[in-house]
Symmetry: C2
Subunit: 365 residues, 2 copies
């Protein structure tokens, strides 16, 4: 087992990463504050791995809530249904919530913990690669609104993150690839050495070799933990973690939630960011090619779907949270391992990156 710490003063917490952690009560036990517990999982994860978690909670009265699976249930209505169950079970402010599933479960359940009686403790037990390297760390919780993704939410840090990589064995390959997109992201943003090691080992990562998987998750979480510790509420540096996300959110929203996985959209968004960075003269062609090659080797798309034209892209990006006072801010690359946030970019560079606008048909002669 590897352990690292997210350093946030009184709200610091450990991330434990290993194989077989769901068979071992030790990592979880110190964080089970209060007697009554609530587990929020979903209909896919609970049948596969629920028995092992249940065994670890033996002796506690547990309210177990299985959500339907899918991003389309990441709504305020789902959160309200969880809060109702928690109130019916008489959970109090000293109770602990455990989020057991992928990023959607973690976001919804973490937000329920954030607003139940103005906030109770929660523990992340992420079961997908994407949630293990990204959403379970850093305290971002929330749900979607019909007008935009993650528009409703709170910053609420977990008390611990327990990552058992054995859960990845049951993960569909599409979701594995989506998770690898976020792993690649850390290399692109700030760790050229990690990027190079991913170039060397991506096939072994996709084949789930344990030592490679643990190392990739550890390095990703360390990267994220460092950024989060420096900028918990995303006023500055944390925004770098959104590389590929502004383009990606536009793809997710434009296609309808759940059609593209978040990580798939981020993978494509990173390729778009790399090309835009090249168009601005920031990223040299070799580096842009390396970025695209690794994204492609992970099984991700390099170009957005044809259904979303440039005008729709602009409209979807305008509602993104990275807009400040009406100005669109993008995360772009100066090199492999060197990202910057900027609102200063030529309109032509963005236009060159978005899908070509359908030419107006010539008039009839």
């Amino acid at each position: 087992m590897k352990t690292l710490n997210v350093d946030l003063g009184a709200r610091s917490y450990p991330i434990h990463i290993g194989s077989g952690l769901l068979n071992d009560p030790a990592p979880l036990a110190p964080h089970l504050r209060g007697q009554r517990l609530v587990v929020v999982s979903n209909e896919t994860v609970a049948p596969l791995h629920g028995d092992r978690l249940r065994a670890l909670l033996d002796g506690h009265p547990v309210t177990w809530i299985d959500l339907p699976d899918g991003e389309r249930f990441k709504t305020l209505a789902t959160v309200e249904s969880i809060l109702t169950r928690m109130l019916e079970a008489r959970l109090d402010r000293g109770s602990t919530l455990i989020a057991f599933g992928g990023g959607v479960v973690g976001d919804i359940a973490g937000f329920a913990a954030a607003i139940y009686q103005r906030g109770i403790d929660f523990i992340q037990v992420p079961t997908t690669l994407l949630s293990q390297v990204d959403s379970s760390v850093g305290g971002k919780t929330g749900v979607n609104h019909p007008l935009g993704k993650n528009m409703i939410g709170a910053f609420h840090q977990p008390r611990a993150v327990i990552i058992d990589i054995d859960t990845l064995r049951t993960l569909p390959v599409r979701e594995l690839r989506a998770g690898v997109a976020e792993v690649i992201k850390y290399g692109l943003i700030q760790d050229p050495g990690f990027f190079a090691s991913l170039e060397a080992h991506i096939d072994r990562l996709l084949a789930l070799e344990p030592e490679i998987v643990i190392e990739a998750i550890h390095r990703s979480c360390a990267c994220k933990a460092e950024v989060v510790a420096a900028d918990e509420r995303e006023s500055g540096r944390r925004a770098l973690l959104n590389l590929g996300h502004t383009f990606g959110h536009a793809i997710e929203t434009g296609m309808g939630y759940g059609q593209w996985l978040h990580g798939e959209a981020v993978g494509t968004g990173m390729a778009m960011a790399a090309r835009m960075s090249e168009a601005m003269g920031w990223l040299d062609p070799t580096a842009r090619q390396r970025a695209e090659d690794l994204i492609a080797r992970a099984g991700l798309q390099l170009h957005p779907p044809a259904e979303i034209d440039a005008a729709r892209f602009r409209e979807l990006m305008a509602i993104d949270k990275k807009v400040m006072d009406g100005r669109l801010r993008l995360v772009l690359l100066k090199a492999i391992g060197a990202a910057v946030v900027t609102a200063e970019f030529p309109a032509e560079a963005l236009a060159a990156t978005l899908p070509a606008t359908t030419p107006v048909a010539a008039g009839a002669d």
Copy 2:
């Protein structure tokens, strides 16, 4: 104008108290971050005082939302409707929300600010005495759930609190008395000198003499600010502010939201807490009598409504947030100006405080 500061490090903020503040742009101006603003008010306050606030916001694009008036609209559905309006208006993370109304408006609007894009700035402009001395200070925001009051919410501190006492001239007398209940509370909890001055001046306070009103609000806010600074998230001392609230919440919920005003229920709850403290031998009869007399002079009830029997009281109190790990905690008095939180009390003292249980009818002979 009097000003005091709530000392919370990077989240510190000023409270400005005076007459005519809604005619003066100076107190508000430094806190209007971002270009776009949203004002959340209600159908009662906006027609009375809205023009003056609008004039202060001249030059900003303003989305103005008037909620229906009343505690029964303090729901997650109302929050969702606000979030939708904010998204439609393209408000971003740099926008500022202004809560303009009483405690219900402040709680709802503050919660909307807390969860809109994971939190945006907000300013409290409270227009009722209760919200001026209590709910607008300290960052507690939230809404009710059918199973309990304030069960959904967040801690989210305002950037400033602007209190114009002129708004009290249009306040119904019942609401004024409800606000005075919370003013008395500060004296009872920790300030015997303030309690004595209220005994001397309560009639002038109820008559809205400006210097008395400003002084009472200033001293109440100073008391609250000190407690909040010491214990922002209510892990300890802040719980003292709940004097009268556990009994009071039971009355509010038991009678149906909106039948009893919050402050009215707190006034009665404080009288119950005083009697229970006397029953435990903590409070001497003279002090108990002084507490009851001042509460009665404020026009508040000393006894709970006959509709709620002891069994229903216990049931309603069991779901209160002051329950920790299944144990009911109450705020009780050792003296005028000395409150304590305790889970250690004899069952008989509580039984003596609750309404007499209806005796079981004797069997037919």
